[in-house]
Amino acid sequence: MNDESDGKWLRDRMQKLRASRDASAPAFEQVWRGARARQMAPRQRSAFPAWRLASVSAAALLVLATAITFSSVQRERNRRMERDFAEVEGTLLTYWQAPSDSLFPTADGNEPPER
């Protein structure tokens, strides 16, 4: 199908569609009257007012902020604990002595000879 016949075919279909749509379009007066009635009527409350969107967004932001704060506090606490443990371990290592015979008493109760 070349471009020209393509266009002709589509135009033909569209014009048929147009005839059927024209037949089913609501009357101008009906739509116009509806618009006029809406103009005269007091403003209806929107089904989805802006304040609802704003409060949903604010709540979501609050939850997000709380989650971020909680996780950063938790991370900081873990880091501090690790530092404290490392400090205690370091202190203990300072007093550590290599094992030697002098630490063990001999069988006759004498002190082991000095080396």
Binding site: R11, L17, S20, F28, V31, A35, Q39, F48
Partner: protein
């Protein structure tokens, strides 16, 4: 423009406007009627004013397109945030009366359904060019896109329909 003249012009373009609204609302007749009513209301309240820079029809169709897009967005947000799918009564495609719907051939129904499932821009450009007999350039102005973009949507839309309906 005088109110009486404005009313006259709107009335003269009413059927075309409804059909355009229908295309912008993916074939949902009740949405299209709502959109058109809101557009008329905006014009009455002078929230949408014809400045005379473009043709009246081009301006009116742009207002309808914008309003339809706003309506679609609102429906999407409603579905997303409230997680509430409003139950719509089963609507006839294009708001046809039962007699007219019966009279239509199955093929015509299939054509309209295929048109309605095309991406929005492709559907719109094909409507403006083949239904309204506008040039692609004028269609681009109504759609608020560049000529190149409109041409691309036009070619893609046409190719999809050809693929679907080529004998």
């Amino acid at each position: 423009m005088e109110p009486a003249e404005l009313d006259g012009r709107l009335e003269a373009l009413h059927k075309e406007s409804f059909s355009w609204a229908l295309t912008c609302c993916a074939g949902n007749a009740s949405d299209a009627e709502d959109v058109l009513q809101t557009v008329y209301l905006q014009i009455m309240e002078e929230k949408a004013r014809f400045g005379g820079q473009a043709e009246f029809k081009t301006w009116l169709f742009s207002v309808i397109r914008n309003q339809a897009a706003k309506e679609m967005r609102r429906q999407m947000v409603r579905r997303l945030f409230l997680l509430r799918q409003e139950v719509e009564p089963p609507s006839r495609p294009s708001g046809l009366s039962p007699d007219a719907a019966l009279a239509r051939t199955e093929w015509e129904g299939a054509f309209e359904r295929a048109l309605n499932v095309l991406p929005r821009r492709q559907r719109q450009v094909l409507h403006l060019v083949f239904y309204e007999d506008l040039t692609i350039e004028a269609a681009a102005r109504v759609m608020g896109v560049s000529l190149g973009s409109a041409r691309q949507h036009y070619e893609r839309g046409k190719a999809k329909l050809r693929q679907r309906f080529q004998p």
